[in-house]
């Protein structure tokens, strides 16, 4: 299997949008979408738990080409906290209860849109990685925090420039 590509992220975005799936890119894949220069293997999505969203998610995943059995689809619908899919065109992790984030609705309210991709706010990505406290996350967190500061500063500058344009 080849590495995850921009085209496949577009396919997720478009398939999930057609089905009305509520989700956010999270983890390092989310950070990369925000501009964080680093490497990863998997795409991680934080999915809102619930029967309707679960059914839409399963339909969307099948549309993307994942070979889900009925048992596996039922496992997703049952509301597991974490599902790892390696039976499709790319690897995809479904996270329903990420460490460090209380509620999907709160993360959704803070989301960032990048080229139509819904992405967790960097603070949520950091909170999740910090709470997980894995060796690999602990190594990458200082650089990710530095990126968050850089990203926030640029966002403020861009917003200031836009406001300046409007005032002229």
């Amino acid at each position: 299997m080849a590495a995850f590509e921009y085209r496949q992220a577009e396919e997720i975005r478009d398939a999930f949008a057609r089905r009305g799936v509520r989700y956010l890119f999270i983890g390092k894949s989310g950070a990369i979408l925000l501009g964080f220069p680093d490497t990863t293997q998997d795409a991680d999505v934080f999915v809102e738990r619930g029967p309707e969203n679960g059914a839409a998610l399963v339909a969307g995943i099948r549309e993307l080409g994942f070979d889900l059995t009925d048992f596996q689809a039922a496992e997703i619908l049952r509301g597991k906290d974490f599902v790892q899919l390696k039976n499709g065109p790319f690897d995809l992790d479904l996270v329903f209860a990420p460490d460090g984030i209380e509620r999907f609705s709160e993360a959704w309210a803070r989301r960032i849109e990048v080229e139509g991709f819904p992405v967790c706010h960097p603070d949520d990505i950091i909170a999740s990685k910090a709470a997980t406290n894995r060796v690999k996350d602990r190594e990458s967190l200082p650089r990710l925090r530095a990126f968050r500061d850089y990203w926030a500063q640029h966002r403020r500058s861009e917003a200031g420039a836009r406001n300046g344009d409007r005032s002229h």
Binding site: A2, A9, P37, T39, T40, Q72, K80, Q84, R134, H154
Partner: protein, 75 residues
Amino acid sequence: MPAMEPAGTSQELQAWHDEFEAAARRPLRLRMRYAFIKTYRPVLDDEPFRAFDRMADYRAWCETALPSWLGYGRV
């Protein structure tokens, strides 16, 4: 609450900042081409589907089933 990791040194911070600036000049499509890689991870990549009731179950499985050098164990 896990202990806070040390922040980077000023040299590291400058190097990271330069990397962020360079990345910001690239289109997302190109950034993703550089970012997503594929290498075989023993055990982790050996099953087409896994589901865990609780995140704690998944974390415990990572610690017991995966080779420690993959970095999925807790600090």
